[in-house]
Symmetry: C2
């Protein structure tokens, strides 16, 4: 099984290695993502699954069963951040396929359908919005997002159409509630909690959804050689204490509340970005996360106040736009219990925990009872070329998913 | 004359206005710059001048005189920073042409040739290196600069070749010393010293050449949602106090030494610049200027020390590359005296001053006795869409240049 998992993961990563210096760059709604999904479809067909694609380009591999019951689904995504790793998303997809292979080899006969879903465009790196495919499937896709642009000025709607889909029709990817019984995602942890607690895998209670802000500093351009220091409105000089403030305040809030809040100024663009021109405009993107929504708001409020202070001190006008502000998502307790029991059965120890990262399961959980399984990854690292998960842990993921799917499809009654 | 100047300046700016919201974007060795130079050549031909282009693409408009004497030259450039103004460079070029028109209309007969030179690629915004055309003409062009890249990965050598010239042959633009007698540039001040001192124009003593540093912060990427605040090496969080330090230290040095030093973090690029990835690498460009070279070095040393301190505190590795470190340039006293006398003759009052900005004259002064004339510009603003110089001041520039050229070419003896 381990060799099979590695081989299929390499196929879906379009590579004969799983770690390489430049990492993997396969952003949402690019031909690279489409190629990876084609590989997924090929593997699913080799396993004898029925393969289809919905209006959003999500691929669905289905082990069909006559009778019209709702399916038990698992899955994740195959897009990556720029220079990301082969496991973020890919681990969940390959383990889902592996679980089916294991159940088929054991001649298991499910009483309801099983699906492995490969969602489109989970990462927010390209358009600033995450989990686009699962938003479409769960019916929460906002049609106005189609005008969002990537760094090259390509809109989300254009990108979707470039891959053979039609933006206006993507709302049709919404599935009736009765089509699915429940959904479980497997993902690499992207942190060190499992290992630090001496456990084997994670079962997630809640997912911390981000507040995301876009902050624009509007200063005044001028010649760097002739504009006296005390007569400037330098947008970057105004942004600098702001960046420090975000970092320091997040550290302080962690100290004060003993809770895990993270806040990052993750993007920054300066204009005109010329060696001999004082920066006129700086745009910074801020990502704030905590499972405690009040703590998240506390951080966002502090940022608002600091922006006012800097504006008054420097004369640089600061505008703040809220890109995203979603409450944290609580996952289904019954499913979580079943995921813990699956581990008991296979002699793996579960760690109950929260997730600092968002995942497709956030959207699926709005409609269907849902769960999230974590397997460890090396040094907790992800979104980085060194991202890595051990084949042993992938195999564990397969065993956990197979056990869960077996229990959940052993009979065909509803509920 | 005023209408003629405005019209010709509009022709060279390829526009029927001289101020517009988006400014002018005409970077060095682009087809936009070439078009502007074609307009310059057309105007020069209408004035009956001999027009030629050297191996670097500098255009030379010559009022020839038999006898083989060295020419008295004036000129400036037609490239701009992105979203810059119509006057930085253009003012010097159009006033040079205007001075020739004035002398021709007065039936003046020069005893040595007069030239108006339009240099290529004065601004450093595209390749990080300034005054490329005048470097070539004065023989100080470093052939290794050909590999410098603009933000799109186009090398300087490729850009040069795109405009019909050959990088390896650009050294042939070097002119023998005897071809020119002297050089005077006219430029907008890009500051407020002339007006603040109640004078009409500026005659420059020294030009403050920059120290330019490229500072790279190498942190570690990671997921913004799952990497605890106290386990990060965030390159942007490390760059922020550094930017503040540059700003504050420049202000302090001005206070302490009563001299005009300016230091600007003018460019910043963050990578991967994704909303959900901790910044891994930040590259910042710093521009430091003062006519006092020791003060400039003091600032650069302070920056080195601060980089070490931040590196030790944050674990983010910081590398500093010196892109440029040229001593300030002192201009010719005799020429300066002649420029002051030209003002006396025309009833304009000169302000003796230094220049915080670099100009083509810096390179010409390495070989030929050289001078620099400033005319006021509105609010001291340049490298900005609102850059503006009054037609009255352009006309004054024409009168000053015409008077200087007349005196300098009234007889043909050497010296």
């Amino acid at each position: 099984m381990k060799n099979w998992l590695i081989e299929q993961l390499m196929r879906m990563n379009l590579s004969d290695v799983l770690v390489r210096p430049q990492g993997f760059t396969r952003e949402g709604y690019t031909s690279e993502e489409t190629e990876a999904i084609e590989a997924f479809k090929a593997i699913a067909e080799e396993l004898g699954l029925e393969v289809s694609e919905d209006a959003a380009g999500n691929a669905i591999a289905r082990w069909n069963v006559a009778g019209g019951h709702g399916a038990v689904a698992t899955g994740s995504h195959l897009d990556t951040v720029p220079n990301g790793g082969a496991f973020d998303g890919g681990a969940g997809v390959v383990c889902g396929l592996g679980a089916i292979k294991m159940l088929k080899e054991a001649d298991f006969e499910p009483q309801r359908p099983i699906e492995v879903i490969c969602f489109r465009a989970e990462e927010s790196s390209r358009f600033g919005v995450s989990t686009i495919g699962s938003k479409a499937m769960s019916g929460s896709l906002d049609p106005s997002l189609g005008t969002l642009e990537d760094q090259y000025g390509v809109t989300l709607a254009q990108a979707v159409e470039g891959q053979g889909f039609v933006w206006q029709e993507m709302v049709n990817a919404k599935r009736p509630k009765e089509q699915l019984e429940c959904f479980v995602e497997l993902h690499i942890e992207q942190g060190m909690h499992i290992v630090n607690h001496g456990k084997d895998y994670g079962v997630v209670k809640g997912v911390a959804c981000p507040i995301r802000l876009s902050v624009t500093f509007n200063g005044k351009a001028g010649h760097t050689g002739t504009t006296p220091m005390d007569r400037r409105q330098d947008a970057l000089a105004a942004a600098a204490p702001f960046i420090s403030f975000v970092q320091e305040t997040a550290l302080q809030l962690n100290d004060a509340y003993g809770k895990s809040l993270v806040a990052t100024v993750s993007t920054l663009t300066a204009s005109p970005n010329s060696m001999n021109v004082i920066p006129q405009t700086v745009t910074a993107g801020i990502d704030i996360r905590s499972v405690d929504d009040r703590l998240k708001m506390k951080m966002a409020d502090a940022i608002q106040n600091e922006a006012k202070r800097i504006e008054e001190t420097t004369g640089v006008a600061i505008g703040i736009e809220v890109l995203v502000n979603n409450p944290s998502v609580l996952l289904d307790d019954t499913i979580a219990q079943q995921l813990v029991e699956a581990g008991d059965h296979e002699a793996y120890m579960a760690h109950r925990m929260d997730s600092g990262a968002g995942h497709d399961v956030m959207n699926m959980a709005q409609i269907w009872p849902s769960g999230l399984l974590f397997i460890p990854c090396k040094d907790g690292l992800s979104h980085h070329p060194d991202e890595f998960a051990d084949a042993e842990d992938l195999k564990m993921g397969v065993e956990l998913l197979a056990r869960f799917l077996m229990e959940a499809t052993a009979n065909g009654r509803n509920g």
